[in-house]
């Protein structure tokens, strides 16, 4: 895969090249998702049933979009982090912190709503900056650097809520997770909006190129004048922001801040979504739309199992198997074998 990035010498052909890469990378995750949906179309009754009630769309597909939005938000930040050859394990803990801050502030009388949202996202970005500082400035390996916040973050969240589960009933805050806008749930709009913003920020400016070059070859990009440390810092801060938004949605969904369970293991789902979307863990490139499709794939799989009465505890087994199959198919060895197979067929 690194050859794809390095064998693009002609600047004039670069955009064309990227176009091809963009679509071909989307092939596998979309095929997987389509396979799942086709399976459900035949074997799960009412899967595609949609209806409009009170000006709002209801149905399993809407639920998938709605419940998948947290992982979609996280996957956006995670995709950029992984593109720099890093990983952010702390997003689940940051979600818990964000939820805790929001719940504590909304229950304080006299704090204006924008301040609550601003402070929550501010704390989340600060947490991301902490990761970015360790990775970008102190050159700590990303797994370890973010492991620190992953371990300590839940403690911090409990410190904020004093070990309690804080409930709230503010209509504006609960709207974020439960409200609907033009027929679709608000979290769906939120994640789609973030996707659009991220795509514009990375693909219509040079930022995306910087991120990919730092992930592909840090030394070379340093020599060509890119401040690798700064790029990494920004990427982790952005991942913190995404985690903050996801934390808001998660807390708002259940109208309380549960420091122990908010976002538990969602970092793993987010990483898997990004990997299923075609982004390699070795860094050097990223696919935002692919990551979103990956998140939807995971959520569809989960929902399918719930609808087929697989217990929530056993659900990880098929999930893990599906993920392993996708990853084996994407692995360099398997790809080499497959391209060899196709080439031979074309030649004959």
């Amino acid at each position: 895969m690194s050859t794809a990035a390095t064998t693009t010498p002609a600047p004039s052909g670069r955009f064309q090249k990227r176009e091809i890469r963009w679509w071909s990378s989307l092939l596998w995750p979309v095929a997987g998702l389509a396979l799942l949906l086709i399976f459900n179309a035949f074997f799960t009754p009412n899967f595609f049933h949609l209806e409009v009630r009170d000006g709002r769309l209801y149905g399993v597909l809407v639920d998938i979009l709605n419940h998948g939005s947290k992982v979609m938000l996280l996957a956006l930040g995670m995709a950029l982090v992984i593109a720099t050859a890093g990983v952010d394990l702390s997003v689940g803990a940051v979600m818990a912190i964000a939820g805790a801050v929001a719940a504590q502030l909304i229950n304080k009388a006299g704090v204006p709503f924008p301040v609550v949202i601003g402070a929550t996202l501010g704390v989340a970005v600060l947490a991301g900056c902490w990761n970015g500082l360790l990775v970008g400035l102190f050159k700590v390996q990303p797994i370890v650097a973010t492991l620190i916040l992953m371990v300590a973050g839940r403690g911090v969240a409990q410190l904020i809520t004093d070990g309690q589960i804080i409930t709230f009933d503010d209509a504006r805050l609960t709207y974020i997770g439960n409200g609907s806008f033009v027929g679709l749930p608000f979290p769906v709009w939120l994640s789609m909006g973030m996707l659009a913003v991220t795509v514009v920020l990375t693909r219509k400016t040079a930022v995306g190129l910087f991120i990919e070059s730092v992930g592909d070859n840090q030394t070379a990009s340093t020599y060509s004048g890119i401040r690798a440390g700064q790029v990494k810092f920004l990427v982790y801060a952005f991942s913190g922001l995404c985690a903050g938004l996801a934390g808001l949605v998660a807390a708002s969904n259940i109208k309380c801040a549960d420091s122990n369970h908010a976002g538990l293991f969602l970092e793993l789902d987010a990483i898997l979504a990004v990997v299923i979307g075609g982004t390699s863990l070795t860094g050097g490139r990223f696919f935002l739309v692919g990551s979103i499709v990956g998140a939807l794939f995971i959520q569809t799989l989960t929902t399918t199992m719930y609808m087929r009465n697989v217990s929530a505890d056993v659900a990880p087994v098929p999930k893990a198997l599906a993920i392993l199959i996708v990853c084996v198919l994407q692995s360099p060895t398997a790809r080499k074998k497959m391209t060899g197979f196709f080439r031979r067929r074309n030649a004959s």
């Binding site: 050159k139 650097a145 973050g153 410190l159 056993v314 990880p316 893990a320």
Partner: protein, 329 residues
């Protein structure tokens, strides 16, 4: 400087361990008692054994996230098999074999398909957790006399009329000594260090990198299963939901013990000290009584941070003085 700089993190770990123990002894009555000391090993035995496996994996430059799930899977498998009339030793044998095969499977994927260990063991974590719930969805108590009497009382080593070393602690100490020998005095151990230091040059030296990698994850799977067996001894029950996040504690112990997560540098003894440090922190908070539980993760996180920064400083200083810490291993 050049020869000794690699021991600095180890000394620092020892210093933290010693001062934590002294602080505990000075602050609390009974902290320094023989019983508390013995219990420190007994209570942390399964974490310690899991950390032994994690040390091998991390020394090779990999990571194993499936530890906690495999422990839970093993414990429920043993409880379920014993409940169905298998003899305890057969059940333990089957469970150990299952964990080992599971590790081999992950090592195979990592080695043959060149998939990142992080990802494979992550899937392994989901897989083992779900399989545990498939074996039995609820926790099962073990009522077999082997577990209740033999292991709990018969196999413990009495020190005096009131205190005896629990069998779990013996298991840990024996595992640790074997691991120490394997890591530092065998060809396999040296190959692990070489693979962790630089996989490419290890392959160029003619070392069997692929085979070693599969063996490492096999070993880690075995250690996780053994930790599960010891956990079953410790709780005398099987539960598919336990030990969530044990792998993180094991990794934390390895990091606090001075092993670099990039691989190739570290000590088995450091990991043992890391495990004891985690145990001491828990003990101190327990003795103090009125401290909220959430301070444990915060303190552990802080300790990881301190040791990471210390390691970075050591690497920087030794580079400046011309020594090569990473290559010296």
């Amino acid at each position: 400087m050049r020869t000794y700089s690699k021991y600095i993190p180890l000394f620092a770990t020892g210093l933290v361990l010693l001062s934590l123990y002294l602080v505990g002894c000075i602050s609390f009555k009974g902290f320094g008692s023989l019983r508390a000391f013995v219990d420190l090993f007994g209570d942390n035995s399964f974490l310690g054994i899991a950390a032994v496996g994690a040390t091998f994996v991390i020394l090779s430059g990999g990571i194993d996230l499936s530890v906690g799930s495999v422990v839970a899977f093993t414990s429920i498998l043993i409880a379920s098999l014993v409940g169905h009339g298998f003899s305890p030793l057969t059940a333990i044998g089957i469970a150990l074999l299952a964990g080992t095969v599971f590790g081999t499977f992950m090592g195979f994927l990592i080695s043959v398909f060149e998939m990142p260990p992080f990802l494979v063991t992550l899937a392994g974590m989901f897989l083992a957790r779900g399989l545990g719930f498939m074996v039995n969805p609820q926790s099962l108590a073990i009522t077999h006399p082997f577990f209740l009497e033999r292991v709990a009382n018969g196999l413990s080593i009495p020190l005096n009329d009131r205190i005896s070393i629990p069998f779990t602690a013996t298991c840990y100490v024996v595992t640790f000594i074997i691991a120490l020998i394997v890591a530092h005095y065998t060809r396999f151990g040296r190959t692990i260090y070489a693979v962790g230091g630089d996989e490419h040059s290890a392959a160029l030296m003619g070392l069997p990198v692929g085979r070693t990698k599969i063996l490492i994850y096999t070993l880690s799977g075995f250690c996780s299963a053994l930790a599960g067996v010891v956990f079953t001894f410790y709780t005398q029950s099987g539960d598919p939901a336990v030990c969530v996040g044990l792998e993180l504690q094991a990794i934390a112990a390895v990091v606090i013990g001075g092993t670099l997560l990039s691989g190739g540098v570290g000590f088995m003894a450091g990991t043992a000290m890391g495990v004891l440090i985690l145990g001491l922190i828990q003990n101190i908070l327990n003795f103090k009584g009125n401290v909220s539980s959430w301070w444990t993760p915060i303190i552990v996180g802080f300790l990881i941070l301190v040791f990471i920064l210390l390691q970075n400083a050591v690497v920087l200083v030794s580079k400046r003085f011309g020594g090569k810490l990473g290559a010296a291993g």
